[in-house]
Amino acid sequence: MLELLTALFLLIGGAFALIGSIGLFRLPDLFMRLHGPTKATTLGIGGILIASMLHFSDQGQGLSLHEILITLFVFTTAPISAYLVARTGLHLDARNGHNAD
C-alpha cells in the first residue's frame, strides 16, 4: 500500500518536473518562461521528496525527516530566485532600450 503511494508520488513528481522544463523549452518570452520552473518544477521536486520520505519511513528505522530540510529550503528560495531573475530581465531590457515584448 505504502509502496503504491510512493510510486504514485514519484510519477507525479517526475511528470511535473518534466512539464516545467518543457515550459522553459517552448515558451517564447523570458517572463513567460519564468512560470514553468518556478511553479511546476517546485511542485515536481516536492512530489519526489514526499515519495522519498514515505520510502525511507517504511524501512523500519523510524520516521525519516531529512527531506523536510530540502523541501523547506527549495520552497522558500524558489520565489526569491524567480524574483531576482525577473528583475535582471527587466533591468537588461531597460538598459538595452527596448520594451519587454
Binding site: S21, T42, G44, A51, L69, F73, V74, T77
Partner: protein, 89 residues
C-alpha cells in the same frame, strides 16, 4: 513496481535536464541562461534524491541539500552581478 516508478521518474528528470541544457546553450539573453541553470540545480537535487531511493541509501540527502544551497547562492550572485555590476557592495 517501485523500481519501474523510479526508472520512469529518472527518465523524466533526465529529459528535463536535457531541455534545460538546450535553453542554457541557446537562451537569447543572460537572464534566460541564469534561469536555465537554476532549474538545472533544482532538477539535479531531485535526481540525487531519486538515486538515494534507487540504491536505498540515505547518504545522498546531504549532497542534495548542498547542491540546493549552492545553486541558490550561485543564482543570487549571478543576478546581483548583472543588476549592480558587483556582487558584494
Amino acid at each position: 513496481m517501485l523500481k519501474l516508478a523510479v526508472a520512469i521518474a529518472l527518465a523524466c528528470i533526465g529529459s528535463a535536464l536535457l531541455l534545460n541544457f538546450w535553453r542554457l546553450v541557446r537562451g537569447p539573453g543572460p537572464a534566460d541562461r541564469i534561469l536555465a541553470l537554476d532549474t538545472m540545480y533544482v532538477n539535479t537535487t531531485a535526481l540525487l534524491v531519486l538515486l538515494g531511493i534507487h540504491l536505498n541509501r540515505t547518504v545522498y540527502f546531504e549532497a542534495a541539500l548542498l547542491i540546493a544551497l549552492m545553486g541558490f547562492v550561485g543564482t543570487v550572485a549571478l543576478c546581483k552581478y548583472l543588476l549592480r555590476g558587483d556582487i558584494i557592495e
